[in-house]
Every structure is written in structure tokens, then in C-alpha cells.
């Protein structure tokens, strides 16, 4: 995905077919992308896997961490976000992200998916598959933000916020990195969305947590998670689904996809162990929530790197991802005093930055990676600076626009439920339901 439009990735499958053609006398120059059933099979599957990450993945992962009285509200927010963003993406988001040649945003030429027919291809897969695969990324990104704002935001405000955010922040950033925009041209390496998805979601979460303010009782009352079995199951589905997220971002079933899967598995496992051990040493006990959080942090950090690094990079990224986000979620948050309730920032933004920067180092062939971007002219330092620039730009753009959206909503419809509703729990008063 990282190379989309910049340097069309035919992948090994394609090469195999080309080889076949050559060996039978056809000339390679004739080859236009034709549909490849193997690649298409994998991308259909990947799309299902990434959807699985959000529902029920994120819904369970986050739902299990809140108090009983808000459990359904988290599930409802995630489920409704899935539906809402799907509609927005089909209507306008896909066009803004992947059509046209603007530096910052696409165009409106494919509103309502105009022009996408049964025969439209995107590389070697149907455009319908590419569009839907990308839709699942557009869905999970705002869904991750929910972790920062649970237990206090009005359901109506939440939907409007995330809908606007998808149009005004997600689509432009996706365009810049993957849709042919300036960051792509600049040479950023973001294989499966460390910047587009995780830094983007995490930073928006932090801004939202700050604008919304803390939950009543935060820091003084215990807020025990309702059921960590849900959280474990959610983390597991995130892990499994992430194979589609990372290996699917190759848009083909080839050697790069295979390596993306392998390094994903390694980095995730290492990060889960690293978080667990760090916690065991520093806090006395290895918790299930810790392992699950470490795994997610590892998945986040390997995301931008997955098609670029080899096993060595995966080990290093895993260790960093197990320790640094742990410190952010446990110490930084307490120090600074914001209530990023379920650590959308601590895990996704911090993990995403760790991953994005390390990608610029370990993609180097010297470390067993697939090679730096041409724009870096072989210099790890240059690649690192490109990564840094991309990360920095994303953080600033994201933070500013998110802040504006939220302030507008705050003065118009209001963001938070009343104190009484917060005490009663959002399940009953926002949804009329209860567990």
C-alpha cells in the first residue's frame, strides 16, 4: 500500500506470471496488470480480517476496560462508527483519499463510487476490493479514538465528531501518504498505516481527552475494568485481524506479504513479553491487561515497518514497543494528568511514533530490511528525517483540525453528558439498555 501510485507493486505473484509469459515467448513489455485470483483471494480475506479488528475487536477490547455501566455505550459507539464511516467513505471519503492528484487531498470525482464497475482494476485486484479494503482502515482509525473519550461523551456528539474527523483529517492524511500526495512524494515509508492510522488516531484521542476533560472521579475513585476476558478476546482478534492489516497492505499474496506477516507476529509477541516483564519488574505482577496492551502496542509499532523490515527489525521494534508505550500509559499520563481513559494516545500515538521512526532505520538492507526509499539516497539518516517530517506534519495537522472540530461542537451541541448521566452510566441514559 505504501507504494501505491508511486511505484506500482506488482509483487512476486506478478513476477511469476511475467516469467511464465516470457518463457513462452510473450514479451514482458506487453504485460498490463490483469486480475490475479490469488491476490484477489487474499485481499478479500484481508478485508474481512480488518473489519474483524473493529467489530467485534475494538468493541470488545475497549468495552472490557470500562465500568459496567458504560460497557454497552462503548460497544455501541464502535458499532455505530463502523456503520457511519462506511457510508461516509463510500459517499466521499474514498474519492478524497485516492482520486485526483492534489498534494494535500484528492478530489470529488468518485463521489458515491462513481466509475467503479465490475471490471475496474486497481493493480491486480478489483477496484471494488481495494476500495473496501481501504474502507476498513478508514473505519478502524476513528474507532480507535473512542478509547480516549469513553464514559463521558454524548453519543450524538461522538458520531458527528468522528464523521467530520474522517472527512477532514483521515482522508487528507491518507491521500498525502498513500494516495499520491506530498508525503508519498517525499519518500515516507508507512507500509500499513503507522502514521495514517495510529499516530493520527492517538493524537486526535489526546486532543479529545483534553477538550472533554476528565471523567468524574478520575484519579480518586477506582474504576475497575468490567471484564478483562472481553479485553483479551478483543486484543486477540486485533492480533489475528492485523495479519490482514499488515500483510494485506501489500495488495498481493507474495513474499513481501509473507514477510510482513512474519515480522508482525514476531514484533507483537516480543512487545507483549516486554510489556509484561516491565510491568512485572516495576509494578510487581504480570497482568493480563498488560500482555494485551503490549501486544497491541507491538502491532501498532510494526505497522509502518511491516513491509520494509526483516526479523531483526521486528525484534528491536517489539522491544521498544513493549517498553515505551508502557511508560507513556503508566507514568507519563499520571504525570501530565490528562484522562486518556483507555490509552489511545499512550498506545497508538506513542507506539506509532516509535514504529514510524524505527522503520526509517530498520528498512535499511544492512539491517535485513527491504531497502530505504529511493528519496533517501541510501542514507539512514535521511530516511529517518523523512519519517520525522511526516510524523511531525501529521501530528500538527491532526491536532489543529481535531481541536477546531471539537470546539465548534462544544459551543453548539455540547460534548459531554450531564454529571448525573455520567454517574448513572451511559448505557441507560444514552441507549436505554443495560447489562
Amino acid at each position: 500500500m505504501s507504494n501505491f501510485k508511486i511505484k506500482p507493486g506488482f509483487g512476486l505473484g506478478m513476477l511469476a506470471i511475467i516469467g511464465l509469459l516470457m518463457s513462452t515467448g510473450a514479451s514482458a513489455e506487453d504485460a498490463k496488470p490483469v486480475l490475479d485470483a490469488g491476490n484477489t483471494a487474499w485481499m478479500l480475506t484481508s478485508t474481512a480480517l480488518v473489519l474483524l479488528m473493529t467489530i467485534p475487536g475494538v468493541a470488545l477490547f475497549y468495552g472490557g476496560m470500562v465500568r459496567r455501566k458504560n460497557l454497552l455505550s462503548v460497544a455501541a459507539a464502535t458499532f455505530a462508527t463502523t456503520a457511519l464511516i462506511s457510508v461516509i467513505w463510500a459517499v466521499v471519503g474514498y474519492s478524497l483519499a485516492f482520486k485526483g492528484s492534489g498534494a494535500y487531498v484528492g478530489d470529488l470525482s468518485a463521489l458515491f463510487l462513481k466509475g467503479m464497475g465490475y471490471d475496474s482494476l486497481s493493480g491486480t485486484i478489483p477496484e471494488s476490493v481495494f476500495m473496501t479494503f481501504q474502507m476498513t482502515f478508514a473505519i478502524i482509525t476513528p474507532a480507535l479514538i473512542i478509547g480516549a473519550i469513553v464514559e463521558r461523551m454524548k453519543f450524538s456528539a461522538l458520531l458527528i465528531f468522528l464523521g467530520l474527523w474522517s472527512i477532514l483529517v483521515y482522508s487528507p492524511i491518507a491521500h498525502m501518504v498513500w494516495g499520491g500526495g506530498w508525503l508519498a512524494g517525499d519518500g515516507i515509508q508507512d507500509f500499513a498505516g503507522g502514521t495514517v492510522v495510529h499516530i493520527n488516531a492517538g493524537v486526535a484521542g489526546l486532543v479529545a481527552a483534553l477538550v472533554l476533560g476528565k471523567r468524574k472521579g478520575y484519579g480518586t475513585e477506582a474504576m475497575p475494568p468490567v471484564n478483562l476476558v472481553y479485553t483479551m478476546a478483543g486484543a486477540a482478534l486485533l492480533w489475528v485481524g492485523w495479519f490482514g492489516f499488515n500483510a494485506g497492505s501489500e495488495l498481493a499474496a507474495d513474499g513481501k506479504a509473507g514477510m510482513a506477516m512474519a515480522v508482525t507476529q514476531i514484533a507483537t509477541a516480543v512487545a507483549a513479553m516486554a510489556w509484561m516483564v516491565t510491568e512485572w519488574i516495576l509494578r510487581g505482577k504480570p497482568t493480563l491487561l498488560g500482555m494485551a496492551s503490549g501486544a497491541v502496542a507491538g502491532l501498532v509499532a510494526i505497522t509502518p515497518a511491516s513491509g520494509f523490515v526483516g526479523p531483526m527489525g521486528a525484534f528491536v521494534i517489539g522491544i521498544a514497543a513493549g517498553i515505551i508505550p508502557f511508560l507513556a500509559a503508566v507514568y507519563l499520563k499520571r504525570m501530565l494528568g490528562y484522562d486518556d481513559s483507555l490509552d489511545a494516545f499512550g498506545v497508538h500515538a506513542v507506539g506509532g511514533v516509535v514504529g514510524a521512526l524505527l522503520t526509517g532505520i530498520f528498512s535499511a538492507a544492512a539491517f535485513g530490511g527491504a531497502g530505504l526509499n529511493d528519496a533517501a539516497h541510501g542514507s539512514i539518516f535521511a530516511q529517518f528525517m523523512i519519517q520525522l517530517k511526516g510524523v511531525g506534519f501529521t501530528i500538527i495537522y491532526d491536532a489543529v483540525v481535531t481541536f477546531i472540530i471539537l470546539m465548534v461542537l462544544k459551543v453548539t451541541i455540547g460534548l459531554r453528558v450531564t454529571e448525573e448521566q455520567e454517574a448513572e452510566g451511559l448505557d441507560i441514559n444514552q441507549h436505554g439498555e443495560r447489562v
Partner: protein, 112 residues
Amino acid sequence: MKLVTAIIKPFKLDDVREALSTIGVKGITMTEVKGFGRQKGHTELYRGAEYVVDFLPKVKLEMVVDDVTVEPVIDAITKAASTGKIGDGKIFVSTIEEAIRIRTGETGPEAL
């Protein structure tokens, strides 16, 4: 000895416990209960069908104290649990004839 039973709103539990600790109450037994009273229950939805749930979540605190402590306990609970809204709950007082600490076999006020 007296048994003081207080039925309060769940989110007041922490405040009440703290207030009771302050005045030296050493032991409390807490039960999650459902209350039916003047406070109107909430409405739940089920595939568009509404039904009113009359029984609301409440917390029942029971503590056995010696006779002189009853007044301060009532005061502490009343203050800490009150929101001024319907459904704040009740306090009931009754007599306990004997108390035994299982661990030691102590009886009477010493057992509390």
C-alpha cells in the same frame, strides 16, 4: 449493640465509607440490592418495546455498632449520602443481642 442498615445510591458508596471510617467505624458489610420506592425507575428499550424497570440499583450497608455510636453513624451517613434528590435512601436501626468474632470467640462490643 445496634444494627444500622443504610440503603444508599451506589455512587455514594465511597463517600459514605470514608465518612464512616473517619468516625471510627471498623466493620461494614455491603450488599448490592435493588430498591423500589418513590424514585421513578428508568425506562429500558428492547427492539423498540419500552419497559419501566422499577427496581433500581442500590447499595445496602450494614454495620453493628455499640449504642453510643449510633447517633454519629446516622449523622455521618446522612451527610455523606445525601444529594437532596428522591431516592437518596433510608437508614434503619434495630437491636442486636449478641455479637461474636469467629476468629477469637470474643463476644459483645469487643467483637465488633
